[in-house]
């Protein structure tokens, strides 16, 4: 490897690294540890216990969290499916339709939501729904999530597409496959790792989203992040830590899966 750019030679590199890691991960670790706290204090350790996990599922707030979780997972699944479908179509068009008018503009439009501050999107979405007279509720959350998940699904899919030469589709059509068959039997399976990776990423982005959801959700409709936020406003109890830890686990699993699948696809070329 290039010795000249070995970061380890810079003064303070080690200290900086440790500091970053601590700031990033210490809170997560503390939350995870204290979710097993037997006492109801969030700062004093009172022994190991699963009671807050039990509380999440059976305690006084359980029905609220259950409904929020159902909403969250349903919206995340649906939004991830649809945004992945749109992103796949966009990626195919971008890499296979040759040069068409407005290609650069289309690419910018697809990726723009990544650059726009989320609060702006949130406000804009709310204004949009009010303007067209859409009553806020689950449906508005769903639609908003589909839209802002598209660029996240698009990234791994288009990265994957770069690596899939169009020679395979040509070979398929040479062997009497119609364009649709060439897409379904050849291109789609070759893109599959990217698509799955995109789906998982979109799913987790949707599951996590607070800001936009909070703006466009109607009164009384909650997803997990908004429900957690609502509870925290009334004081932090260890059950919040338990539910956060659970959510963290789901996220870690999905992101890891997305990464592994993306990488497996890469190495298989």
């Amino acid at each position: 490897m290039a010795v000249a750019t070995d970061l380890r030679r810079f003064a303070g590199f080690r200290a900086m690294t440790v500091l970053c890691l601590v700031v990033l991960y210490a809170p997560l670790i503390i939350v995870a540890i204290y979710s097993f706290n037997a006492s109801s204090s969030i700062t004093r350790w009172g022994g190991f216990s699963f009671k807050w996990y039990v509380d999440v599922f059976t305690g006084p707030e359980a029905p609220k969290f259950r409904q929020a979780a159902i909403n969250s997972f349903a919206i995340a699944t649906g939004a991830a499916l649809l945004s992945t479908a749109f992103a796949t179509a966009a990626a195919v068009a971008m890499s296979r339709a040759g040069r068409f008018r407005g290609k650069v503009a289309s690419l910018a439009l697809i990726n723009l939501p990544l650059m726009v501050p989320e609060i702006v999107t949130a406000v804009a979405s709310l204004v949009f729904f009010i303007t067209i007279g859409f009553t806020t509720g689950l449906m508005t959350i769903f639609i908003a999530h589909i839209v802002f998940c598209i660029p996240f699904a698009y990234l791994p899919i288009s990265a994957r597409m770069q690596g899939v030469s169009d020679i395979y589709e040509q070979a398929a059509m040479d062997l009497y496959a119609t364009p649709w068959q060439a897409f379904r039997l050849i291109l789609l399976p070759l893109m599959a790792p990217g698509i799955l990776s995109g789906f998982l990423l979109a799913f987790i982005i949707s599951l996590d989203d607070f800001l936009i959801t909070n703006f466009v959700k109607g009164a009384g409709v909650e997803t997990l992040p908004t429900a957690i936020f609502g509870s925290v406003k009334q004081g932090i109890k260890p059950n919040i830590m338990a539910i956060s830890t659970l959510l963290l686990c789901v996220s870690v699993v999905f992101v890891t899966l997305s990464w592994i699948i993306g990488r497996a696809g890469q190495s298989r070329k």
């Binding site: 040509q170 070979a171 398929a172 059509m173 040479d174 009497y176 068959q181 399976p189 070759l190």
Partner: protein, 363 residues
């Protein structure tokens, strides 16, 4: 599988008729025409960028022609999409489907043509046996060597029984040893299946050893079509003479013409009678003589006088680089047999051109 085309002629598999292909302002094919017969091993030979791949892609349907017709057993297919043409391609990079095993790759075309899974499996195994890969049916392409992948690509393209098989430099990804073995094998398979092959290469040796006929191309035009022997021994112009094998092109003056024969003045002034590639008139011309068709004689004898500049040892042969009085370079190949005297550097030698082996070219 000879078929009768609509015009009643038997045995023309592909009729390429004045095909033009333009990419924007660049013209890749300037009106290319030729016929390929049933069961023929037909080679497109030419330097890089001359339009071989473009022409093959026009026949396969991946490129739309800008003009002209391509007839497959009489039916104009130039405007049909690739999947409607009974033509299969062996791609240069093989393009085996990486997510399918070898058997599924070979069955792909059969299933698309409506074969039942059972029949397709049987047919695929039969073709795999033909290319000697019967034991590899369950492997993934990534688990095969380059030579094996090449044979899978061949089997996959042959399985549906195309009316013509297109091969774009299928051997170029193989190493030299393997390439020579595969040449023989490919030719054998072609004979057994009796399918017309259109084989693209820029390797003249490959073209000469495998083809029934060769179309020599340059700059998007066909320069000459003929058997390997014809294009080697009777090139029609300087490009063909120079591209296929080695040749000496001597500047000569044409003195008199009698039908297809002419008498020319060689450099140094001696007269020489030779065959002309095309009708010629008196004036300047070029005489093409292969290095192995020149005999070494004593200085002052023969048709030319030259000075030895260098020799190159080639094992079976020795290549002699010499210069004529007017500084024109001449290459002579002499057999490395016992007792053959090799002239020293700087020695004067006489060169005798084999009568009948020299061709007069005007362009």
């Amino acid at each position: 599988m000879a078929q009768v085309d609509s015009s009643g002629g038997i045995g023309i598999a592909v009729d390429v008729d004045d095909v033009v292909k333009r990419y924007g302002t660049l013209t890749a094919l300037h009106g290319v025409s030729f016929d390929i017969r049933d069961g023929e091993f037909f080679t497109l030979l030419g330097p890089s960028g001359c339009g071989k791949t473009t022409l093959l892609r026009c026949i396969a349907g991946f490129e739309e022609v800008s003009g002209g017709a391509i007839r497959l057993h009489g039916e104009d297919i130039a405007r049909l999409p690739p999947h409607r043409r009974q033509v299969n391609t062996v791609f240069q990079q093989y393009a085996l489907f990486p997510h399918m095993d070898v058997l599924a790759n070979v069955m792909f075309g059969l299933l698309r043509r409506g074969w039942t899974r059972r029949d397709a499996t049987a047919r695929a195994r039969e073709v795999l046996a033909l290319v000697r890969l019967a034991d590899f049916a369950e492997r993934r392409p990534a688990q095969l060597s380059g030579g094996q992948q090449q044979r899978v690509a061949l089997a996959r393209a042959l399985a549906p029984g195309p009316q013509v098989l297109l091969l774009d430099e299928p051997l170029s990804a193989l190493d030299l040893k393997l390439r020579q073995a595969v040449r023989v094998e490919l030719k054998q398979i072609q004979r057994e299946t009796d399918i017309a092959f259109v084989f693209v290469t820029h390797d003249q040796e490959e073209a000469l050893t495998m083809s029934d006929r060769i179309a020599v191309m340059s700059d998007g035009r066909v320069q000459q079509i003929g058997t390997p022997r014809e294009v080697y021994e009777a090139p029609v112009n300087r490009f063909v003479a120079g591209f296929i094998g080695e040749t000496n092109l001597l500047d000569v003056a044409i003195r008199s013409v009698d039908g297809s024969r002419a008498e020319v003045l060689l450099p140094g002034g001696r007269p020489f009678a030779c065959a002309a590639a095309a009708p010629v008139a008196a004036g300047p011309g070029h005489l093409s003589v292969r290095p192995e068709r020149i005999e070494l004689v004593a200085a002052g004898e023969g048709d030319l006088t030259a000075t030895v500049r260098d020799h190159v040892y080639l094992g079976t042969d020795i290549q002699l680089h010499a210069r004529l009085a007017d500084d024109e370079a001449v290459v002579v190949r002499i057999q490395n047999a016992a007792g053959s005297a090799i002239p020293e550097r700087g020695a004067e030698i006489g060169l005798k051109l084999e009568a009948g082996a020299a061709r007069l070219l005007t362009d």
